[in-house]
């Protein structure tokens, strides 16, 4: 029986494919590599790597401790490299308009009830529930892929991260 080796990638190593054009513009495919993006990102920057109208997938370089954030809708955090601890808090009072888009940073320590914490490693997916607050911690540089809505802190730098030629 064949012994298969599943190839994942990370900050320590990735191979990049690409768009081989026949009759098209490579920019139409908005091609990037999330680990290349995370390598060049500042800690906790929320860099969009995919966008479909108002929705985005963001890459976050997790390193140290993030600020607390409040999210008006569910978000989902997939750890794609390293290990990240997520603290969850039920705020004493609502910190975000439920009709808003994307999470917002909360200054300082929000008052509220601790909900629990999640220790997630590569390949784990965590719910960041609507109306709650969360904070992430990573002892070593790690990478999170966030399913969310374009928000005030989403960074769009497509020309820097995507294949152009």
């Amino acid at each position: 029986m064949t012994k298969y080796k599943t190839v994942f990638a990370g900050l320590d190593g990735y191979q990049k494919g690409g768009v081989e054009v026949i009759n098209d513009d490579p920019k139409n495919y908005v091609f990037s590599n999330i680990f290349e993006v995370a390598t060049k990102a500042k800690p906790w920057e929320k860099v969009a790597v995919a966008k479909n109208q108002e929705y985005v997938l963001e890459v976050i370089r997790a390193e140290g401790t993030s600020s607390w954030r409040a999210t008006p809708h569910d978000e989902f955090a997939m750890v794609v490299d390293g290990e990240v601890v997520i603290d969850l808090l039920d705020p004493e009072q609502s910190l975000v308009d439920p009709s808003a888009s994307g999470s917002i940073a909360v200054s300082g320590e929000p008052k509220g009830t601790p909900m629990g914490k999640i220790t997630a490693r590569r390949g784990h997916l965590a719910l960041l529930p609507a109306g709650r607050c969360y904070r992430m911690r990573a002892e070593k540089p790690s990478v999170v892929l966030l399913q969310t809505v374009l928000g005030p802190d989403t960074v769009e730098r497509w020309s820097e991260i995507c294949q152009k030629y």
Partner: protein, 326 residues
């Protein structure tokens, strides 16, 4: 042209397979091939790829946009009703006026396709399985495989694993780790929950969940953020359809490698080859069709915007065919 009645064949042919008619389209199969005829032409194709393509079309409810079974036969989803076509997206068929299209209510065409699968898929063939994990689609009729051809596509309401949502997979629930993913870590995240928050503090091993998938090329909804759907899937061998997009679709390669052949949606002329390795992220524009090749079983995150308004917005030119410009 609009709806015509379905005719399900009552009498099997000498190979044991029943014929089917849907409007002006007539379907027959023999030991090796499927034969499709319509008022202006005919088409013959091998039974295995035809059944694999039809299986996806049924399971996905005709999916987002066009499902080309091959360069000739396919369906175009109008969400509520569906076009069945021959040569509609083939420039030469259109020039020769051999193309043909008929519109059917969703339930009518789905019932016909399901009936074809029930009759034409033999007992040891699973159209969702990788080639090395299933028997042959060919030969005379030998039983049926109802369990395989009536699988329901998994669609989480919020996130897989939450109470009252789609369950996780395990050995006990009939999802052993696939032979190609035996080296994938199955450790679960550490979830520490305060009392009263059991429905909100939740996480699971997403890669482990995927390693237990028993199907290929069948995206299932795992997490939902408004109309944003994360639809991971495991891929091996060839995507059995050529998917014509009616909206932008995104791929994020989670493991291994897939090579995508991209063609113009209308003419089928080649536009690009997109090679995706672990960590690569790419959009499929709304005016192309694509088919993927996965040499080893791989994990692919398909990310969709499920908004029902998008196809019309793109058709009216109110939304671009590419997700961003830079």
């Amino acid at each position: 042209m609009t709806t015509s009645p379905i005719q399900l064949g009552d009498v099997p042919n000498e190979h044991g397979y029943r014929p089917f008619t849907l409007g002006g389209f007539h379907f027959e199969r023999d030991e090796h091939f499927v034969h499709v005829t319509w008022p202006t032409g005919r088409h013959v194709t091998a039974a295995e790829p035809f059944l694999k393509a039809m299986m996806r079309d049924v399971a996905w409810n005709f999916f987002y946009g066009t499902v080309n079974f091959d360069a000739v036969i396919g369906t175009l989803n109008h969400y509520g009703n569906v076009d069945l076509f021959a040569g509609r997206f083939n420039e030469e068929y259109r020039k020769a006026e051999l193309d043909h299209s008929e519109n059917f209510p969703h339930d009518e065409i789905k019932a016909t396709f399901q009936a074809i699968l029930n009759d034409w898929v033999n007992a040891d063939f699973d159209p969702f399985a990788a080639p090395m994990e299933t028997g042959s689609a060919y030969g005379e009729k030998t039983g049926s495989n109802t369990a395989a051809v009536t699988r329901t596509r998994i669609a989480a309401k919020r996130m897989v694993g939450l109470p009252d949502d789609e369950p996780l997979r395990s050995d006990e629930s009939g999802y052993p780790v696939n032979r190609a993913f035996l080296d994938v870590d199955l450790d679960e995240p550490i979830v520490e929950v305060e009392k009263g928050y059991e429905k909100e503090v939740s996480a699971f091993n997403f890669f482990g969940y995927l390693s237990r998938s028993d199907v290929t090329w069948n995206p299932s909804v795992v997490s939902v953020c408004r109309d944003s759907l994360m639809c991971p899937t495991t891929e091996e061998f060839i995507l059995p359809i050529i998917h014509g997009n009616d909206r932008v679709e995104w791929f994020l390669q989670l493991s291994d490698e897939i090579i995508w052949e991209v063609e113009d949606r209308e003419s089928g002329k080649p536009r690009a080859k997109v090679v995706m390795k672990a960590g690569d992220c790419a959009a499929m524009p709304a005016d192309i069709r694509h088919q993927g090749y996965s040499p080893k079983r791989s994990m692919l995150l398909v990310w969709e915007n499920n908004s029902p308004d998008l196809p019309d917005m793109i058709a009216r030119g109110e939304a671009p065919t590419v997700p961003v410009t830079f």
